[in-house]
């Protein structure tokens, strides 16, 4: 009955090892970042879906987490942008 969790554990472990190996491999920066972010999202999906049982929950709860959280985080990121990027201008000023 624990089989699913240990398969998920194996998957997470394999992804972590892959990420560490890629970290030691010379790769173009953009490829490296894309691979890392992809692996990160897959790992997050495995934890949410299997360990946190989100796969077996009602759609409303799944949407609140899988859509609500990233949308709110994206808004947060955009809202900080004007202030964060203004510092570039301040640094450029004499």
């Amino acid at each position: 009955m624990y089989r699913t969790y240990w398969i998920a554990w194996g998957g997470l472990l394999a992804l972590t090892v892959t990420m560490v190996v890629l970290d030691q491999t010379p790769l173009p920066r953009s490829t490296f970042i894309a691979l890392m972010l992809g692996a990160m999202l897959v790992k997050a999906g495995v934890i949410l879906g299997y360990f946190m049982h989100l796969r077996f929950e009602r759609w409303a709860l799944v949407a609140a987490v899988v859509l609500g959280l990233p949308i709110n985080a994206a808004i947060l990121y955009v809202l900080i942008a004007p202030d964060a990027l203004r510092i570039f201008d301040m640094m450029a000023a004499p």
């Binding site: 624990y2 998920a8 090892v17 990420m19 692996a39």
Partner: protein, 213 residues
């Protein structure tokens, strides 16, 4: 729509023959029991806290004159070992939740105990990492590797995460105490498990965005 009674006796307290309380039934908006729904609400808001930190870190990184290459400061193998410990503790916790649903309380106590051991090991490893970084002269405002904000974000991100691990250990210790005395419900173990997996989830983001990318 799923309906659940709000007044539910714990397994070791048999229901009184004439309950003093009136049973009220309410529809459950997300189809999950209330405690679980509230834990998810907490996880979403706490997730936003970390999203804010990571967004701020992202901009600091963009603005940094020289962001130190992580391999100069940290051992990736050591970080991978920390990740392994935390993922394993998450797996044992998932098994504990499954055992609680099956009513195998001895197994639950044992598995929660293993989860606590994993969490404590992770926290110890993090303490050693802090000791090492502080030993190299890093503070919140300066460090010898590069941009001054590197130290701030290292202590902020790993510190907040470590605090969550510590909180999780307290929650798990209380849960283990309850399950050992058969005083917990399967839902109680599940809610504690959700929090523990969330701590693991946050680490996945910190490990990738702060230590690797």
């Amino acid at each position: 729509m799923a309906v659940e009674t709000l007044v539910r006796p714990l397994p070791h307290h048999p229901p009184a023959t004439s309950p003093a309380t009136t049973e009220v039934t309410l529809p459950l908006p997300l189809g999950a029991a209330w405690r679980k729904t509230m834990m998810w609400a907490f996880i979403i808001t706490d997730g936003l806290l970390f999203a804010g930190f990571l967004a701020s870190y992202g901009y600091a990184r963009l603005m940094a004159v020289r962001w130190p290459p992580q391999q100069e400061v940290f051992s990736v193998a050591y970080l991978a070992a920390m990740t392994f410990v935390l993922i394993t503790s998450s797996a044992t916790m998932a098994c504990a939740v499954e055992a609680a649903r099956a009513g195998r309380w001895n197994a639950v106590t044992r598995l929660v105990g293993l989860t606590i051991a994993g969490g404590a090991t992770f926290l110890g490893m993090q303490a050693y990492e802090w000791w090492h970084v502080i030993g190299e002269g890093a503070t919140l405002t300066r460090n010898s590797w590069g941009d001054a904000s590197f130290g701030s974000y290292f202590f902020l991100l790993t510190g907040f995460h470590g605090t969550h691990v510590l909180t999780g250990l307290i929650v798990l210790a209380v849960t283990a105490g309850h399950t050992a005395h058969r005083a917990s419900s399967a839902e109680g173990v599940e809610v504690a498990g959700l929090y523990w997996h969330f701590v693991d989830l946050v680490w996945v983001f910190i490990f990738t965005l702060f230590y690797l990318v």
